[in-house]
């Protein structure tokens, strides 16, 4: 099964499948049913981060350097956590400015500078080509391991010429793929739907392949992870393999790799391509910000087990980078190695495809186009010809980049292990981070600062990482590694200025970023920005400002006809008609072009040629300048002012709504009070009229009936007197209530013994209760209960409570029980009866004025001589008790099962002297 024909058939069959998927993706896009419009596909496309370097190299790195390989994936995790803030801003900027690559992004930020864009493109080309070489090397190597096992792969490699090398043919197939699916549109800022679909598919394949081999190693070669790690722990030379000691550079190397991976994830051209340029919807970032880290966890889950297993078992090939292949091979399994090979192939091809597209766009738009635009000849070229030119340039660039990668692989690739080349590229790409990230948040960063910072960072990287790499592969005399350039000790590339103890990557990253950021900030503080730069700086830093979205930034003048001829010369007729939204535009149209149209034209050109070239072209037909900084700032200010006004207005209106609500509630209460007052007046009049009526009636009888017997006359007079007493008592109560409610009730609080007071009150009502047949029980727990109170008023309350109890007790055997007890820091006096009790929902209402509980049982005749209450006793009592700092409420009767009224008064402390 491992014979060459089968392996090759499978491999190229897989590549053919990619073509099919990409073609299908593009067709769906044309039909308007895009398959990449989902956050999951977006996430999978970001997983192009995991290259062959992850697939084979992670295991190698874990075997050699312990857990440090994880930092290469924790850095991106951190970056993705920041996606909703940072990457979202990048996506917003890129879509409004039609950014095509990271070089375009940086060039656009610093005044659409073509020189800066060219610099970024060159650095990317130098830094990334080895990385592409690394992928091709991985394909060659894995193929050799697969076919030659158990013979060593290296021996075979040296014998081969390039036409036998499989990776050469793979590169060729990829070139065709990229040309077909990567250069379909002239506008490079448009999505490559088919390509993204293929990449997402590749991400799935490599994950499945890696998980399969992981499960196989852990559960088939060993009995689960427990068994594997027990064996590792029992192998003395492997015990230290998982600790921080195995990490080069220790803690510093740890942090260095973390920072490096974080920055590189954002600045590697292919990552910028899938994260920013190919993003179809900002909202996808939200899902991707956790789904992508999850993908990373999954693909890293089995790295350590595989590495450890490879070190434990005799696999016949000592290269840890190939453990993924050699472990299943050594077990004699045939299918899994083939799957692994395809997984590695998918990881490698995915990276090569995206990286090549990104680089070719940079090369054509940032390097070649600006040169061509300067040559006079090109301006004379006829309509639409340039569109063909551009695509041609890009296609040639693709072939050249792949060829360059292959050459690098063939010439130098053997001297490095996979991971080494990868990290070298990472540090190179990280040089873009200061210009990009600082430029996004600091308006003051200038082009001079960015250029010098980038140059310094690049040179430092070149000297401390790339050059030593060349030296180690024998291209250069390696003595300068040990002795420094020109014999100067402090210029040793791996210990610049004598800084030792770092691993080479952290060392290079530290120095290059230090110089890069230092120069960017330092020079920016002392240089001035050109007007275009100021404008662009404002547009970038304020990209999330909603005021900028629909503003047109041009105020120059030109005619529609001129714009039309410019666009059709460079983009062709179709694209021109789309941009101008006018199929009948003709070059002779002399109507002035509105600013929005000029902006659209510039964006259209940017998407195809890059912002720097687009600016040059637009300037060639538009008289006057783009909107200057002042106008932008004023837009921003107006917007932020408007926002501020809006915010304040909203606050105010919220406040108003709240106040309105309060007013409504107050009004409601007032109405309620008014109603209560009316009721009160009606009640009072009613209550007063009853005794008055009877007094008047009896008085009239006495006046008219002169011949009444003396006995009757006396009885009538008795009634008149009683009713008058009742009347005056009622009036007294009403006055009390009025005083209580208006707060004018004068109490005379003093220290007094509640026990004594209760006894006194009980004595006062005892006779009356006995007359009514009420059995009164008194239970006083404490001997002395000192409280603060007005003795007269308190007695009034107690008598009232007892009186009430008597009134509502059972008809046949009325019983009332008074109980006084200490409760925490206060005394509770409860009066209960054995009557029907008070329903729970009535309990608060008994304290309302004139509220009288209806007694259904004696609604008719059973008067029993009990006086009717006025309905004012309880409200007055509660008012008095509240005034004295106590409480009065209705509770469940514990013993007699009727109503129970409880009065609670705080205990008077010793110091509380009587007033």
């Amino acid at each position: 099964m491992r014979t060459d024909p089968i392996v090759l058939t499978v491999a190229f069959g897989y590549l053919a499948l990619l073509f099919v998927i990409a073609a299908w993706g593009d067709r769906r896009a044309e039909q308007g049913r895009s398959i990449i419009g989902s956050p999951t596909v977006y996430t999978l496309s970001i997983a192009v981060y995991c290259t062959a370097w992850t697939f084979y190299g992670s295991v190698g790195r874990a075997a050699e350097f312990g857990p440090s390989f994880l930092m290469i994936y924790l850095g991106p995790t951190l970056a993705m956590l920041m996606a909703p803030m940072m990457i979202r801003k990048m996506v917003r900027i890129a879509s409004t400015q039609r950014i095509t690559s990271i070089a375009d992004f940086i060039s656009a930020r610093y005044g659409k500078s073509s020189s800066l864009g060219a610099l970024v493109a060159i650095i990317a080309l130098i830094g990334i080509t080895p990385y592409i070489a690394l992928q091709l090397k991985a394909i060659t190597l894995s193929h050799a391991v697969l076919v030659n096992y158990p013979d060593a792969a290296e021996f075979q490699l040296q014998e081969e010429s390039f036409w036998i090398d499989k990776s050469f043919w793979v590169a060729l197939v990829l070139a065709v793929f990229i040309i077909l699916f990567g250069t379909r549109h002239l506008d490079a800022s448009e999505r490559h739907e088919g390509m993204v679909a293929a990449i997402a598919f590749e991400s799935l394949i490599k994950l499945v392949a890696f998980l399969t081999v992981g499960v196989f190693v852990v559960f088939v070669l060993f009995n689960g992870p427990g068994d594997l790690f027990r064996q590792v722990a029992n192998t003395p030379e492997l015990v230290g393999a998982l600790s921080l000691e195995a990490v080069p550079g220790g803690a510093i190397g740890w942090v260095g790799t973390f920072v490096l991976a974080f920055l590189a994830f954002l600045t590697l051209p292919r990552q910028f391509q899938v994260l920013v340029v190919e993003n179809v919807d900002e909202r996808h970032l939200r899902r991707a910000s956790w789904l992508f880290p999850l993908y990373l966890v999954a693909i890293n889950l089995f790295v350590i087990p595989i590495a450890m297993a490879g070190l434990l078992l005799p696999v016949g090939n000592s290269d840890p980078d190939s453990f993924v292949l050699t472990l299943p091979l050594s077990a004699g399994i045939e299918g899994i190695p083939l799957l692994v090979f395809i997984g590695g192939l998918s990881a490698a091809t995915g990276m090569v495809i995206v990286e090549t597209i990104a680089l070719s766009t940079m090369v054509s738009n940032q390097l070649i186009m600006p040169l061509l635009l300067r040559s006079k000849r090109l301006h004379l070229s006829s309509q639409g010809e340039l569109a063909g030119w551009l695509l041609g340039i890009r296609r040639v660039a693709i072939v050249m980049i792949l060829l360059l990668g292959y050459l690098y692989h063939a010439l130098i690739g053997d001297s490095y292990s996979l991971v080494t080349i990868g990290l070298v590229s990472f540090v190179g790409a990280a040089q873009f981070a200061p210009a990009m990230l600082i430029g996004m948040y600091w308006r003051g960063a200038t082009r001079a600062g960015a250029t010098l910072g980038l140059l310094a960072g690049f040179v430092t990287w070149f000297y401390t990482l790339l050059l030593p790499g060349f030296a180690q592969s024998g291209w250069l005399d390696a003595t300068f590694l040990e002795q420094g350039l020109l014999g100067l000790e402090w210029l040793r590339p791996y210990a610049l200025f004598g800084l030792e103890g770092f691993d080479i990557y952290s060392h290079s990253l530290m120095w290059s970023l230090l110089l890069n950021i230092g120069l960017l900030v330092g020079i920016s503080l002392f240089t001035r920005q050109s007007p275009v730069e100021q404008t662009q700086a404002a547009l970038f830093t304020e990209a999330m400002n909603p005021g900028l979205q629909h503003t047109s930034l041009w105020r120059g003048q030109t005619t529609r006809g001129e714009l039309q001829s410019l666009l059709s010369r460079y983009l062709g007729a179709g694209a021109t008609a789309r941009i101008l939204a006018d199929p009948h535009a003709n070059p002779a149209d002399n109507a002035p072009a509105p600013p929005a149209l000029i902006a659209r034209a510039e964006q259209g050109l940017s998407g195809a040629l890059g912002s720097a070239s687009a600016r040059v072209l637009i300037n060639s037909v538009v008289r006057g300048e783009a909107l200057d900084l002042e106008s932008i700032l004023s837009i921003l200010d107006t917007t932020s002012q408007t926002l501020e006004y809006n915010r304040r207005l909203e606050q105010k209106s919220n406040e108003l709504a709240r106040i309105g609500e309060e007013l409504r509630a107050a009004n409601e209460r007032l109405r309620e009070l008014d109603r209560l007052k009316d009721e009160f007046v009606a009640m009072v009049s009613h209550e007063l009229r009853t005794p008055l009526t009877s007094i008047r009636a009896f008085a009239e009888i006495l006046r008219d009936g002169q011949d009444l017997p003396e006995e009757k006359r006396k009885h009538f007079l008795e009634v008149v007197v009683l009713e008058s007493q009742r009347l005056s008592r009622l009036i007294e109560e009403i006055l009390d209530l009025a005083r209580l409610e208006s707060g004018r009730l004068t109490l005379n609080p003093q220290r007094l013994d509640l026990v004594a007071l209760v006894r006194h009150s009980v004595d006062a009502v005892h006779r009356l209760q006995e007359d009514r047949g009420v059995k009164l029980e008194v239970d006083l727990e404490p001997d002395e209960a000192m409280v603060i109170g007005d003795p007269d008023r308190l007695e009034q309350v107690i008598i009232n409570l007892l009186d009430n109890g008597g009134k509502f007790a059972d008809d046949d055997t009325p019983r009332v029980r008074l109980h006084l007890a200490r409760h925490k820091q206060s005394f509770r006096l409860s009066v209960e009866d054995n009557g029907p009790g008070i329903a729970p929902d009535e309990r608060e209402r008994v304290f309302e004025k004139f509220h009288q509980i209806k007694r259904y049982s004696d609604a008719g005749s059973k008067a029993r001589g009990r006086p009717r209450g006025s309905g004012l006793g309880l409200p007055i009592s509660r008012g008095i008790v509240n005034h004295l700092g106590g409480r009065l409420w209705v509770d469940d009767a514990p013993t007699l099962k009727g109503a129970c009224l409880v009065m609670e008064l705080p205990e008077a402390t010793e110091e509380a002297a009587p007033a």
Partner: protein
């Protein structure tokens, strides 16, 4: 008033940086003399935790403007 989603995200980022950086990482790392290091296990657990928190934060928060 609830903290804004933005503030929660910033706090989560801070937590992630803290969890993956030396002071905490060193605690879970054991020198070879003391047997296998817990470091990889710790990293995977912390990693999954951060992702779970992020997922919760992203999927539950309201669309912000």
């Amino acid at each position: 008033m609830n903290a804004s989603p933005q503030a929660r995200l910033v706090a989560l980022i801070g937590l992630a940086i803290l969890l993956f950086s030396p002071p905490l990482v060193l605690i879970f790392d054991r020198p070879p003399s003391a047997g296998l290091s817990w470091l990889p296990l710790y990293l995977f657990v912390a990693w999954t935790l951060v992702i779970a928190l992020a997922a919760w934060l992203m999927e539950h928060r309201q669309e912000d403007s």
